[in-house]
Amino acid sequence: MDMRTPLAKVRGLGSAKSGTEHFWRVRTTSLALVPLMLFYVVFLIMYAGRPYAEVVSALANPFVATINGLTVIASIIHMRLGMEEIIQDYIHSEFMKVALLILNATFSLVVGGLCLFAVLKIAFAG
């Protein structure tokens, strides 16, 4: 006899409550990051160390700003999920594991938020 409710059966998420979402998000963000990071790393090599005015005007370009914003969003999600996997694999003390998972989520959100703000500020206000 199946004890699950009809809703639980439809969702198909099992006892872990999240199904394959973690796996799926890692793969989708990784595919998005292929073109984004290729652009981003070339941009970084080209402009790191260049004068302030030159860098800011390059970052303010609408195309560059859009790519930068998308790169920040995709990479923040991807790196948070990746670090989650590393923590779950190697940290066996339950307290430490939960603490690091929270730290990882917080760190990713803060860094991502700051980067997005920086990208938008340069794009709109210079």
Binding site: R27, S30, L31, L33, V34, M37, L38, V41, V42, L44, I45, M46, A48, G49, R50, Y52, V55, V56, L59, N68, S75, M79, G82, M83, I86, V111, L114, C115, F117, A118, V119, K121, I122
Partner: protein
């Protein structure tokens, strides 16, 4: 009560197995992932400094322009390429291809060679163009 989990046999760990290319590249994939996680901090610092005005920016930017900064950036580029190519191998396996022993070993070696070649190529092109 005795701790029953204490004396259970452990599953074999890394040092038990013979070191092979696919295994090495799997480990490097995880290490480059971790390195990129923290390398992103440097990129973030550069981006945020650019949004904070010329004084902040010149300090951070000086570091990126220095020889140490450029070496770190070169390493970041390599880690990115290695992780990107490794990720593509994983996508290939996910959709069910490339599990043959000879092929996956060849691809693991190619991953390392291609990541170095692409890093050098991209840096060479950018330095010539700029």
């Amino acid at each position: 009560m005795a701790n029953v989990t204490n004396n259970r046999p452990l599953s074999p760990h890394l040092q038990i197995y013979k070191f092979i290319p696919t295994m090495a590249m799997s480990i490097v994939h995880r290490i480059t992932g971790g390195a990129l996680y923290f390398g992103t901090l440097l990129v973030a610092a550069w981006l945020i400094a650019a949004a904070s005005g010329e004084d902040y920016f010149s300090q951070v930017n000086w570091f990126f322009g220095s020889i140490i900064g450029q070496i770190i950036l070169f390493g970041y580029t390599w880690a990115m390429f290695h992780h990107l190519l490794g990720g593509l191998r994983h996508i290939m396996w996910d959709i069910g291809y490339g599990f043959e022993k000879e092929f996956s070993t060849m691809l693991a070696k190619a991953n390392l060679v291609a990541s170095i070649a692409l890093t050098v190529l991209v840096w060479a092109i950018v330095l010539i163009v700029r």
